[in-house]
């Protein structure tokens, strides 16, 4: 019997065995009917410090039902990054994986479908992911090349009627979006919601996934998140990126890890940490009406305060309007 109890999750190496396909089609609840969301900010100065205990204790606070469940961690890998400034840092990914296993998860996959570079192996090598999570063969899934399933888009925020998604994403019991804290030259910010672009497979839509741009980035973010419904978010804000992100920006230290079971609330809180106004980020404002909370009075913010760790991130001129002048 292997570590999956003989039943492999869909995707890499499922090898014809039974595919778990639960479909992540939970109903959308209007914001005014949703309970307040909880967002936890933890201080973390650097990647060399002991992160596993910090992350484990943070996850315990959310009492996530992960015992015997399959978890998918979805980091943000945008390209080769030997300097560790573009992608979710592997130290955060490794500590998160270990924490979920300690909480009883039956398996923790790490998966992403980089948008611009089809040589995912080169990205993984450049950040030395295996040094933090061990052998990648039964841990990492290239979501660009995974088996796919067609999913009708319920929200129809964009003109897209349906999208293919990787079976590993659709079959996971818990999807955790793990972006890096970055500004974005087309969307304003790229956090846990925008990070889900990486669940759309390049083998169906190309490198980049240009059909999403044509559908309207803001609206495509809503459609994808309404379809995939990430359950949890952990934002790597230890070292972020400002300016012309998500690739050509400038490193910006913020010294924080942000956790939450409502990715919209997490992103809104991240914006406030970055000195930006979430209500002015188009897709985030819309997400606040259908996917989660962005209003301060609907977010129970615990741990460090936003004010204690606020670090003003610069944005390109086109996004001047999202700056919080206060």
């Amino acid at each position: 019997m292997d570590e999956f109890g003989g039943k492999w999750p869909a995707g890499m190496g499922n090898c014809g065995q039974e595919v778990v396909s639960t479909m992540r089609n939970r109903a959308l609840i209007p914001w005014f009917q949703r309970p307040a969301s909880k967002v936890l900010i933890r201080r973390a100065a650097n990647y060399e410090q002991e992160l596993e205990t910090l992350i484990y204790e943070s996850l315990v606070e959310f009492a996530l039902p992960v015992k015997d469940k399959v978890v998918l961690l979805k980091p943000n890998f945008v390209g080769p990054d030997p300097g560790g400034i573009r992608n979710t840092h592997p130290a955060v990914i490794g500590a998160t994986r270990a924490s979920f296993l300690r909480l009883g998860a039956s398996h923790v996959w790490i998966g992403d479908g980089p948008a611009l570079d089809r040589d995912t192996e080169a990205i993984l090598e450049s950040i030395r992911l295996r040094d933090f999570v061990g052998p990648l063969a039964r841990t990492f899934v290239d979501l660009n090349l995974d088996e796919v399933e067609r999913v009708p888009l319920a929200t129809k925020a964009s003109r897209l009627k349906e999208l293919y998604f990787p079976k590993t994403v659709l079959g996971a019991d818990l999807v955790v979006s793990m972006p890096k804290l970055k500004t974005h030259h087309w969307a304003g910010v790229t956090l846990s919601l925008k990070n889900m672009f990486g669940t759309v497979p390049g083998s169906c839509y190309g490198w980049p996934k240009n059909v999403l741009h044509w559908a309207g980035i803001d609206n495509a973010i809503l459609d994808i998140n309404a379809a995939v419904r990430p359950d949890f978010a952990i934002v790597d804000g230890i070292m972020g990126m400002e300016g012309n992100g998500p690739i050509q920006g400038t490193p910006k230290a913020c010294g924080a890890l942000i956790f939450g079971d409502d990715p919209v609330a997490v992103d809104a809180t991240c914006c406030r940490l970055m000195g930006l106004l979430p209500e002015k980020v188009k897709y985030l404002a819309a997400a606040g009406t259908m996917l989660g909370h962005i209003r301060v009075d609907r977010i129970q913010q615990v741990g460090e305060s936003v004010a204690a760790l606020r670090t003003r991130f610069s944005v390109i001129r086109e996004f001047d309007a999202i700056r919080d002048a206060a």
């Binding site: 190496g13 611009l116 995912t120 080169a122 090598e125 990648l136 995974d146 059909v211 050509q248």
Partner: protein
């Protein structure tokens, strides 16, 4: 979709610098699905792109076909059945809309130089020539000039290539594969209107590639400049762009890009990049410059049948397989 086997084939460690072709071909044979195609990962559902590359590897390498005729025939059956009524091929067989893999399928079939596939190639290439990117339409160019998108980078909107999906924007790789596929000429005694159109598209596509080259050489997906910052070249788009432009070896852009590729060869960290770069440099006669080899472990996640096919092709001898087919 049923698999030939419930368990995955035991992948040989395709060790050291190149897989032995015998090992690769056994992997391809053992991982062929009952429908004749291959997935990206052994045992996954068949896809057009992965099947194209395995067929290319099985048919392009001298002597490879020996003993694999049935495997190849079944692979080609999958490809011909996957073609849509409008001549295109879809990324996922159940889809009814074609995309960039149409160029790839045409290129692979054309390389066989078998008259049996002439009609499939012809209808496929007609679809390719009918597929115009929308980013360079008059309306879009005007909108771009007026919007912030126009400030993202300088580009010549008169050049038009191909997109990953129909009616979107031009990108480097789909344009490169369309150019490779359009090297195919039907066996016709006179120049037809279609051939004239194909030639026009080839010229526009070449212009697009040269326009999208990064400053100093090399290509990324298609953004040579990003809000005033020079785009960073990437290996795979650079190799396919160079291969599609190999008829212009003396052009400055080709030379600069080859230099970039050669200078960065030793820094390559992925097998897919390694294989494609090696193929490209050898086609341009720079094989003696290559000193580095790469260990390739098929147990690693990025190691898949597409990569195995590229590694097989990189480890093969002559590169005639790059050419789509005969000249009329």
């Amino acid at each position: 979709m049923e698999k030939d086997q419930a368990k995955p084939p035991a992948m040989d460690p395709i060790s050291a610098h190149f897989p032995s072709n015998n090992g690769s071909f056994r992997l391809f044979r053992d991982s062929q699905n009952s429908d004749g195609g291959w997935g990206f990962i052994a045992g996954d559902e068949s896809r057009v792109e992965s099947t194209c590359w395995v067929v290319k590897a099985l048919t392009a390498i001298a002597g490879a076909k020996r003993g694999d005729e049935d495997t190849v025939r079944r692979g080609l059956d999958f490809l011909t059945k996957a073609q849509l009524p409008d001549g295109s091929w879809p990324a996922v067989p159940e889809t009814k809309t074609g995309c960039w893999v149409t160029s790839l399928a045409c290129w692979v079939l054309a390389g066989l130089q078998d008259e049996k596939y002439a009609k499939a190639i012809d209808t496929g290439l007609r679809w390719v020539c009918d597929d115009w990117p929308q980013d360079s339409s008059w309306w879009r160019r005007t909108v771009r000039k007026l919007s912030s998108a126009g400030k993202a980078g300088k580009q010549n909107d008169a050049a038009r290539g191909w997109g990953w999906t129909p009616a979107t924007s031009s990108w480097v790789e789909p344009t490169a594969f369309a150019l490779l596929a359009l090297e195919w000429h039907p066996r016709a005694s006179s120049v037809t209107a279609f051939q004239r159109e194909a030639e026009r598209r080839r010229k526009l596509g070449e212009a697009l590639l040269y326009n999208r080259m990064c400053p100093g050489g090399g290509w990324n997906c298609g953004s040579p400049e990003d809000y005033g910052v020079p785009g960073e070249p990437m290996v795979i788009p650079t190799t396919w762009a160079l291969l599609s432009l190999r008829h212009n070896p003396e052009r400055r852009e080709n030379k600069e890009s080859l230099d970039w590729l050669e200078n960065n060869f030793s820094k390559i960290q992925g097998a897919a990049s390694y294989a494609s770069a090696r193929i490209c440099l050898e086609v341009y006669g720079r094989e003696r410059e290559i000193q580095t080899a790469m260990a390739y472990d098929p147990e690693e996640p990025a190691s898949n049948l597409l990569v195995a096919a590229w590694m097989s092709l990189a480890g093969s001898g002559p590169r005639e397989w790059v050419t789509a087919g005969r000249k009329s």
